[in-house]
């Protein structure tokens, strides 16, 4: 609707599976836990780095529905231990 009104949009999201189904015009995938798209609390440099990465990706979109991976890891060592913590958090989401 916003795009149809003449304003380009960019979704910056953590849920790759949802973005694949919803197919927004342009989507930037951040591999962080949901609710922490721009990093952990009180980390302004990281907030800014993720946002700048997403904006830098804009000229590379060539077709509607494309999802571009920003290459952001939640843990510096690439660990995915956060997934179990997130599952536990989301179990309260009823």
């Amino acid at each position: 609707m916003i795009e149809a009104s003449g304003i380009p949009t960019l979704v910056i999201g953590t849920a790759h599976d949802i973005m694949s189904k919803v197919t927004p015009p342009r989507a930037a995938f951040v591999d962080h836990p949901v609710g922490r798209t721009f990093g952990p609390p009180n980390d302004r440099p990281r907030n800014q780095a993720v946002l700048a990465k997403a904006l830098a990706e804009l000229p590379k979109f060539s077709r509607a529905g494309e999802i571009r991976d920003l290459g952001c890891n939640w843990s510096p060592d690439g660990s995915r231990d956060w997934e179990d913590e997130l599952r536990a958090e989301m179990s309260h989401d009823r």
Binding site: I7, A15, V22, P25, S91
Partner: protein, 156 residues
């Protein structure tokens, strides 16, 4: 392999049926003509955000929206969304609503300018028609009025 949210969402919605994910009935694509460095940018958040002096959102099907001032001195951001994942972002809403980061990028010239208002609404609404016919057009009108060139949507 990215984390899979849909199976958990389906499990959590029981006994109600899982939320149906909807795409716009009329997909659109608007070419980007301005570089970001010459664009006025606004944030859109589905975290049901507001300032303390703005009317609270009423979970779960509140389809209203708030204009959240981009002025960092306007006040603290409150997250009204009911999601269980809110514990961490409520400590620091900037991690889902990077208005400080956007302001900094504008200051350094990476972003042209920041719109006077950002926008927020309740994510996870089940009434898709209302979103498409009322909520989204109203926000689109406000964005046009504010001469926004680029809208950044951050799902919650």
């Amino acid at each position: 392999m990215p984390f899979e949210y849909l199976p958990i969402m389906a499990q959590n919605s029981a006994p109600k049926p899982p939320r149906v994910l909807a795409s716009p009935s009329k997909p659109a694509w608007c070419e980007i003509t301005n570089p970001v460095s010459a664009s006025r940018v606004a944030l859109l958040s589905s975290a049901a955000l507001r300032l303390a002096n703005q009317k609270p959102f009423i979970p779960r099907e509140d389809s209203s929206y708030r204009r959240v001032p981009s002025d960092l001195a306007a006040g603290e951001i409150i997250i009204d969304h009911h999601s269980g994942i809110g514990r961490v972002p409520k400590q620091d809403p900037e991690i889902v609503f990077p208005r400080t980061a956007l302001a900094e990028l504008a200051k350094s010239g990476i972003v042209g300018s920041v719109a006077p208002f950002h926008f927020s609404f309740m994510g996870g609404l089940r009434e898709h028609e209302k979103i498409e016919n009322e909520l989204a057009p109203a926000i689109a009108r406000d964005l046009k009025e504010a001469q926004v060139d680029l809208a950044l949507l951050v799902p919650y």
